[in-house]
Amino acid sequence: MTRVKKAIYLLFLLLAVACLDEPDCFNLTNDTVTIVFRKMFDGRVDTVTFARVDVTGTQLTVFDEDTVVLTNLSVLVDYTATSSLIKVKTFERITDIELGYRVQGQFVSESCGPKFLLSELKVLNSNADSIAIANATPGAGGNVNVYRCPRTNYLLLAFRELEDGELRRDTLTLAETTADFNYTKLYADSGALSFIRLPLNLASNATTHTFEFEDGETKFITFNYSRADKMILPSCGVQTVIDDIRIVNSNFSRSELIIDTRLKRDSIYDPPIINFQVVR
């Protein structure tokens, strides 16, 4: 009966393994939706400065007037309903994203209680430039891609310093940057910076920016440019594009257009390229 004994041992081994067959109670409900912000032009992730994010119908506020810079945003959606409206307030705009989804319920165990499984995520309504579902099952990876149209009026200025006959990256501490027109600040324009994105007035052919440094010194640059209406991407419609940008006045010791044989640096790109450099 040796084989019978072996069979009995095998039985107890199986029973021991069977004891490990209890469900886990951790993170049962997949109610987290990740929204990824992207640039429509190249599909790459965009860095967004959030001011506030709300999931309406609840008291859930992800940020409250506290500036946070992120490329994506994870929010909890309401699994007691089949849709949630997410209001994303950035410096530029308020984007409404209404998401619909299927909610399946399950009793997990006496110790875990119930769980809800969300799936079939879809966009019911949105005022974003473009929006698409990347992964219809919440809880894993990026679920929603929010695309923005190209920004056609932000040039990129680099700060340089001359050292041993070579131009090197310089970091300047700005107290404030102002322009001669009203605009919404989308990018950092104060503090320690090596690059700065400067808006150009789309209603005019000239814009002057004034830089107030922490030590009290003030510098300015005046840009002249030409404008034209053009359709870059069909879903963005006709946009005003800027070309032939020149520095016509500046009190920096040296301010100049970057010369590049591959890219036309006197035009606006999004994602940006360095258009100009100023040298201390």
Partner: protein, 224 residues
């Protein structure tokens, strides 16, 4: 060839064919005898009623019938169970259903004088059941939420690898167990209430699960 000669040849051929057939039948008689079933065993699973008597949230039964074909044991099992659970937060779940399993075991104790059986085998199982649940959430940020959901006439199939033992206790009374590794559960989780427990299979929480049946069997031999 004339007609009588043709008939004669046909008769000779039929005779020779008959002789060959008879010789083959004689050879295979020995072979055939070991492939003929010699017994039927029927059993009642005893863990289920013990469990039903000791806990409030389970009731169930299971019977088994098996026979032998040489060292192989075709097996049919059927049963039913119902379960009910209540979680701390007030959520409840209950189900009720019937199931059957069909398969065969291979005996590895072919030389045992008592014809005890240690086997490995497989089963295909199928269950039809209904279930209902009340799911209660009392947590921020969504506030209190109660939903009642049910599924009727749900069916599911699955496969099992089994290992079993059958031991002779008295002339006709045997005891035995079957341990089961259950997998490939085919239930379609496309309903608003996801299934928690399938009668005959068990928990759906993981891809595979285990089971164990302990039988009291009546052995009915009908051939030597």
């Amino acid at each position: 060839m004339t007609r009588p000669l043709l008939i004669f040849r046909l008769c000779v051929n039929l005779f020779l064919l008959g002789m060959v057939g008879h010789a083959m039948a004689q050879d295979s008689l020995q072979q055939k005898s070991k492939w003929m079933p010699t017994l039927v065993r029927v059993g009642y699973e005893i863990i289920s009623p013990i469990r039903a008597a000791s806990v409030d949230n389970f009731s169930g039964w299971e019977v088994v019938a098996e026979t032998n074909v040489y060292r192989y044991y075709p097996t049919f099992e059927m049963g039913g169970w119902s379960r009910s659970w209540e979680a701390n937060g007030g959520s409840t779940y209950s189900n009720d259903g019937r199931y059957w399993r069909l398969g065969a075991d291979v005996n590895f104790l072919t030389k045992d004088k008592n014809k005890n059986v240690f086997s490995l085998g497989f089963r295909y199982g199928r269950s039809t059941f209904s279930e209902d649940a009340t799911l209660v959430i009392a947590a921020d940020p969504w506030g209190n939420f109660i939903t009642t959901r049910n599924n009727n006439n749900v069916s599911s199939g699955w496969a099992e690898l089994t290992s079993g033992l059958r031991v002779k206790v008295f002339e006709y009374v045997w005891l035995g167990y079957t341990a089961r590794f259950k997998f490939s559960n085919s239930i379609k989780q496309n309903r608003d209430l996801l299934t928690t427990d399938i009668p005959g299979y068990g928990s759906t929480a993981k891809e595979t699960t285990w089971g164990f049946s302990y039988y009291v069997l009546v052995n009915v031999p009908f051939r030597k």
